[in-house]
């Protein structure tokens, strides 16, 4: 058993692109954990999509052996956490599994919204924090200014921050020393006490089945043990026990303070809950670790196959993904517009995008994604309370007493120059300002915003009005009543269910008009004119008319052309099969895709 004082468990917190993954790679490399020839950039970001987008979704971990200057060899366990707000709960769990954090800040950029959100999670978890100023190789680096900013904004001492370049390797040895010297070893922990370990994360491995990442708090886990998950009550035998270096390496036992993994015959990731407490089946511990909370989806949308023949393939893909992701929910949905599909729930927009991309890429199914929506609480006049996941299921308004919507607390950091645009955007999205402070040339605005305004392209708008210079983070804040209505879109007097949405009454006209205008451009002209309307209940609030097709005729057609021109028409007609029929109107798939992508 490794003595506690020679273990250091830590995570790295950073805003996206500030160099978290690069630093992790460097630490692994410098300690010879991976042979030089096996090194590939961003070792810990495993999945393609993660690698491409530079985000980490699953917590990853690596055990590093570090011979320190004091002559001792330390075991450093790094947990690389998902940095994104969608996975805030997962982050907070990972943080509870370690005792300290490296706070990486890009010395050319300074503190950003995600830096704040993540560092506060670390502070909440009682972490010791070592500030690391990265990218000092760049001429634009201003380590002094950024150190000051860290002290001002976050309120931690940055006077002995490590100055490094994760890219060139400058300062990495200092980081390793700081981990050993400045971060605390795991607290307490009795190897002979009943087993108490935290389930940090889990994922599916095609060869091993479900792999469970754990942090041992008390007691010892050994290969062959029979364990029990305290929240779910499920029992498993420990078939394989090991650590990541970062490749799997078997160990016989893991004691207090250690981080590692085990496999049992766990079939589905769904059977494992992040934050659960693992103990032995017999003579287990009495009380579970505090803070467990099942993850709940907050953003919903419909996923439909573009080719309706692929519905079964989609079902298959969704079921497989769900096995590996407990936070993602789904149920079958039928839409007159889009046919058969699934209504899916996600932790946030990024989570939604990741799942959608994986279905499209890994399973090769082209998808139509309907406008993301949130869960509304409907308080009915008869006292019943309904959770509305899909605007299409909205009951008769006359039976609804009032509606509550989820709100968030958003933190936006932005250079002064763009502040005006950001405030206007927040105002337009029904935001309430909670705080506005300035740090150097940057402003930090804190807003109370309706989540439904944020899931609807807020992030894209923010990026565009600030030319990409703003950073944004948020946390859920609970529900509040507002004047919300269901807006329907009617094409040629037929309601198009896939396009209905919940909106604030005051914003309905604007949204309705924008949607009608957009559809007018997207729906091809027909042989008759087509009214396109937005309506609330029976009342039309916006209207456009798509005029009838005026010209579609082949000018010249003689004997020699007969076969060729007929084939052309037949091909065009076959092309219409990719359209959805609404009464007499055919709407191309493209129109749905673009209409639902609508900005502002």
């Amino acid at each position: 058993m490794i003595p506690l004082n020679r273990i250091r468990n830590f995570s790295i917190v950073a805003h996206i692109d500030h160099g978290k993954s690069t630093l992790a790679d460097r630490l692994i490399q410098l300690t010879g954990t991976v042979q030089e020839r096996d090194m590939k950039a961003q070792l810990l970001d495993a999945m393609d999509i993660e690698r491409e987008r530079g985000i980490t979704i699953k917590a990853n971990t690596v055990r590093i052996e570090y011979p320190a200057k004091d002559g001792e060899t330390y075991i450093l366990n790094l947990i690389d956490t998902p940095g994104h707000v969608d996975f805030a709960y997962e982050v907070s769990r990972s943080m509870r599994a370690v005792e300290g954090s490296l706070l990486v800040v890009d010395a050319t950029q300074g503190v950003e919204a995600q830096t704040l959100a993540n560092v506060y999670t670390a502070i909440d978890a009682d972490h010791e924090i070592v500030p690391v100023l990265n990218k000092i190789d760049l001429p634009a680096a201003e380590p002094e200014r950024v150190a000051e900013q860290i002290e001002d904004v976050i309120g931690i001492d940055a006077s002995d921050a490590c100055l490094i370049s994760a890219k060139t390797g400058i300062g990495i040895p200092d980081v390793l020393e700081a981990i050993v010297k400045r971060l605390p070893p795991p607290h307490g922990g009795d190897p002979d006490a009943p087993l108490k370990a935290m389930l940090v994360d889990s994922w599916y491995d095609p060869y091993l089945g479900v792999v469970v990442l754990i942090r041992v708090m008390d007691g010892t886990i050994r290969k062959g043990d029979n364990i029990r998950m305290m929240q779910t009550g499920a029992k498993y035998g420990v078939d394989k026990l090991g650590v990541f270096r970062p490749a799997m390496q078997d160990v016989k036992e893991l004691g207090p303070g250690e981080i590692g993994f085990f496999t049992g015959s766990i079939k589905q990731v769904r059977d494992t809950k992040v934050g659960d407490t693992i103990t032995t089946e017999k003579k287990g511990c009495e009380t579970p670790l505090p803070g467990f909370k099942p993850s709940v989806p907050v953003v919903f949308c419909g996923l439909f196959p573009v080719d309706s023949n692929e519905f079964e393939d989609l079902r298959d893909a969704i079921e497989k993904l769900a096995l590996n992701d407990a936070s993602f929910s789904y149920e079958m949905e039928t839409s007159a517009a889009l046919g058969f599909g699934f209504r899916c729930g996600f932790l946030g927009l990024l989570h939604l995008e990741v799942i959608r991309d994986r279905i499209e890429r890994e399973y090769n199914i082209e998808l139509i994604t309907t406008a993301p929506s949130v869960i509304y609480h409907l308080y009915m006049k008869d006292g019943e309370k309904i959770d509305l996941h899909n605007p299409a299921d909205m009951p008769d308004m006359s039976k609804v007493d009032h509606i509550e919507e989820p709100r968030i607390k958003a933190t936006i950091m932005v250079p002064d120059d763009y502040l005006g645009d950001v405030l206007k955007l927040c105002q337009d999205r029904r935001g309430l300002q909670l705080d506005l402070t300035y740090v150097g040339g940057r402003a930090m605005a804190v807003y109370d915003l309706p989540l439904n305004e944020v899931v609807f392209d807020f992030y894209d708008r923010l990026k565009s009005v600030t030319k990409g210079y703003a950073s944004f983070d948020y946390q859920m804040e609970g529900y509040r009543e507002d004047n919300l209505v269901k807006m329907q879109i009617l094409v040629n007097d037929e309601p198009v269910d896939a396009l209905s949405m919940m909106v604030h009454r005051d914003r309905a006209e604007m949204r309705g008009r924008a949607m009608c205008e957009k559809l007018k451009d997207l729906i091809p002209r027909h042989m008759f004119k087509i009214p396109i309307q937005a309506a609330i209940g029976g009342k039309v609030i916006a209207r456009e008319t798509l005029s009838a097709l005026r010209k579609d005729v082949t000018a010249k057609c003689y004997g020699g052309d007969a076969t060729r021109k007929k084939k052309l028409l037949e091909k065009q007609k076959a092309g219409k099969k990719k359209m959805r029929q609404f009464g007499k109107v055919e709407i191309p798939q493209e129109a749905f895709i673009s209409a639902l992508k609508m900005d502002s």
Binding site: R525, T554, A562, K566, Q572
Partner: protein, 394 residues
């Protein structure tokens, strides 16, 4: 009695109704126009004696396969058939005269480009037997003729029209409109001028951007500017109907206008889906043989075609068109003319095509009309004919 297939019975009747024609393709031009996707080739020299011999032998071969037919029209199309020597035309016509019985009022048309070189040849061509010319005037504006890559100017075209009218019984000319930067008013003046020139037949085509042409490439690259949008081209088409109606040249087909009685009988064969023999590079034919409708298609490359023709047949391919495809072609061609199509014939070939429900919907929109036996497109429907055909295809 034949087998019970009703379409075979109506088939025999149909070619008789549509007439019987001969199409001869002359694949050479003096220059390639940037908008043109016809089978036309620019070559340094053409051995006309050899071509005359090959075309004539193909005519004889086709005649042997269609004994007893009465030929109602012959059409020399191109390419630029006005580049044929009068002797070449004569050799082909001689073969046709020997091959088939000619109708008394046989129509013999030749497509001519209106440059001075060709106008000089009109007399000889008329003497060879051609009684109708169709002149590719294309525009009455010099700047536009240049943009269309034409070798003639307006003055030459006018001379050619005059000479043609003195030489041939019947004269028609072609204009291409909806051109780059053309306004509605520009077209009004130009067409009015054209109508004052005293011909009784005009082909008025909206410029079509064809893939695989110079214009097509420029268009794809976004470098063909000033083309009219849907609304302007629709307005131009409607204006065309209005302007031609007054002097008595109504449309008897989407893009063809004639004084009643002066219609091109040859082209009507295509639209009535009658029988015709197609001779020459890339030419298509449709001929009913032993109750089957056969389609033939000549080799496109002139060099390949002539070698093949000399070796026995210029056809690249001969196939039998199945009833469904016949129905589709008949629908697409037949709805181009005001008389429309015979529903009995159509449904005899394919009961699935043009279902009652689709017809009723289009009727409701005022785009088609229907009687007990026939289906046709209204003047309003003409402008959206492709959509109508798509709605009616099975």
């Amino acid at each position: 009695m034949h087998s019970g297939n009703s379409w075979r019975v109506v088939l025999t009747e149909n070619w008789q109704r549509g007439g019987f024609g001969l199409y001869v393709h002359w694949p050479f031009c003096a220059a390639k126009c940037p908008y043109c996707d016809f089978n036309s080739h620019v070559v340094p020299a053409v051995d006309q004696t050899r071509w005359a011999r090959a075309l004539a032998s193909e005519v004889r071969r086709a005649a042997e396969e269609t004994p007893g037919r009465v030929l109602s029209s012959i059409f020399f199309g191109g390419g630029t058939p006005s580049l044929m020597l009068p002797e070449t035309v004569a050799v082909v016509l001689d073969a046709a005269r020997q091959g088939w019985v000619w109708a008394n009022d046989i129509e013999i048309t030749l497509e001519a480009n209106p440059s001075s070189v060709e106008a000089e040849r009109f007399r000889g061509i008329a003497e060879a037997g051609v009684n109708r010319v169709s002149l590719g005037v294309q525009s009455l504006r010099d700047a536009d003729l240049r943009r269309l890559g034409r070798l003639h100017d307006v003055a030459e075209a006018k001379t050619a029209i005059r000479v043609a009218r003195e030489t041939f019984q019947r004269v028609s000319f072609d204009l291409i409109y909806a051109r780059q930067d053309q306004t509605l008013e520009d077209w009004r003046t130009e067409l009015t001028e054209a109508l004052s020139m005293g011909v009784d037949h005009l082909s008025l085509y909206q410029l079509t951007i064809e893939q695989g042409t110079a214009f097509g490439d420029r268009f794809n690259a976004g470098r063909l500017r000033g083309l009219p949008g849907e609304d302007l081209s629709a307005d131009m088409y409607e204006l065309t109907q209005e302007l031609c109606g007054a002097p008595g040249l109504p449309a008897y087909e989407i893009s063809n206008h004639a004084r009643p009685g002066a219609e091109s009988r040859h082209n009507l064969i295509y639209w009535r889906y009658g029988d015709w023999v197609g001779i020459g590079p890339g030419a298509h034919g449709r001929v009913t043989h032993a109750h089957q409708r056969r389609a033939n298609e000549g080799w496109k490359q002139p060099a390949k075609w002539i070698e093949a023709a000399e070796a026995g047949t210029g056809d690249r391919q001969v196939s039998v068109i199945d009833p469904q495809n016949m129905a589709g072609e008949y629908l697409m061609m037949g709805l181009r003319i005001p008389e429309g199509i015979d529903l009995g014939v159509l449904h005899g070939w394919d009961p699935q095509i043009a279902p009652e429900s689709a017809i009723r919907e289009l009727e409701g929109l005022g785009l088609v009309w229907k009687t007990e036996t026939a289906l046709g497109v209204t003047p309003e429907g003409r402008l959206v004919l492709n959509s109508i055909v798509k709605a009616l295809l099975p």
